[in-house]
Amino acid sequence: MTDSATQTKTPGADLFAKFDPIIQTRETLLASGVEDPFNLVMEKVLSPTRAICNGRDTILLGTYNYMGMTFDPDVLDAGRDALTEFGSGTTGSRVLNGTYQGHKECEDALKEFYAMDHAMVFSTGYQANLGIISTLAGKGDYIVLDIDSHASIYDGCAMGNAEIVPFRHNDIEAMEKRLKRIPEGAGILVVLEGVYSMLGDVAPLKEMVAIAKNYGAMVLVDEAHSMGFIGENGRGVCEEQGVIEDVDFIIGTFSKSVGTVGGFCVSNHPKFDILRLVCRPYVFTASLPPSVVATAATSIRKLMHGANKRAHLWENSKRLHAGLTELGFEIGTDEPQSAIVAVIMPDLERGAAMWEALLKEGLYVNLARPPATPANMTLLRCSLCAEHSSEEVETILSMFERAGKAVGIIS
């Protein structure tokens, strides 16, 4: 007995060994002397478009603050009032002690915004996809999705038990072929995004949703990057392309145009509310703090009347896209399709050098690299805000010109 207790096992493999390649890539990059693109600290935030980053006054062109709601006075007042009246947090699940007046008001605002019967608020957008996808599609069902889908969609697939069938990005024919091959009678969930966040391109939802419906599928569209400014009422690409009535579920987030954090799903399905009891990422986590749902509800209601801001955001996107194209940069889309303008870099080294040169100019953009990006691309992702002034966009273009020439991306 005592002998076996003192016996030692041979040591197992180091569980961190699998991360060695990424540790190596990171060390090589940082050894070149570049500022760490994934360790930026914003010491002060001056407005939706300005912050002090690593000690410098910086224009923000890499946030998802599309509609510039983060410092809206009405939004801030609503948050402060809720903090005072309802406290700092709910300390509970939505299905137990974590549903306050504010959560219901936030869901009411969403129902009104989308003109839909049901709305369910999650603690993050990631959890909304994780929860809805993994819960809806079960064993024997099929999920047909675009290969460039967001990580939260893939993680929702991985958490469930359905058969996962990806198709080539935005390829209508490839999607239909796969739908055609699914056995008769199987449940099908087609998962699409309105705007794909890496290149800022839009899905051909009009055609895809019609085909999906032909094959008897339910359709879920993630409109995270379109809410607030695409479509007549800001409901997203499915509204703009006239298919919102045929979409069964819209997934969205509060962490982009709404300007706080949280996620949601809206639907007209008559049985939708049962998901509140069976969806684990909804049940087994604490609900959003009262101040967060109060800011979200106020912001959503203001976004309903944001037509002028929307128009200015589109002007900004078009000007930046045209200006960068003229300077000789390669852009992810031929035409501006959203508030995201993705500048394609030749490789990670020069992408990181360009990112740093822009930061020193006083401009923050997103450096995106594989595996987040399609086709192993390195991207400098610019996301515009309705609060960027036209002058700021010109300043941004001159910063890109100087940095691009210094790094040798353009001549």
């Binding site: 072929k177 796969r178 091959r181 086709a375």
Partner: protein, 80 residues
Amino acid sequence: MTEAEVDERIRALIEPFNKKGVTITNDTTFANDLEFDSLTVMDFVAEIEDEFDIIISMNQQAEIETYGQLVTAVHKLQGS
């Protein structure tokens, strides 16, 4: 279609993806021997799916590591 016929057709399909001209046996692995990345896997799987009019879901793909396993799986999915 017999397993030998499935093998013959997949062998023809894999040709353009076998950039290094690796000799393919049943034990040849896609990740290590053929060095397929995720994009190549997607294109290659799509070719096979179209050729045999089948679906190889990601769940099934995860179980397939070698050429031999692929031939067996496709033969089975074909149901003949």
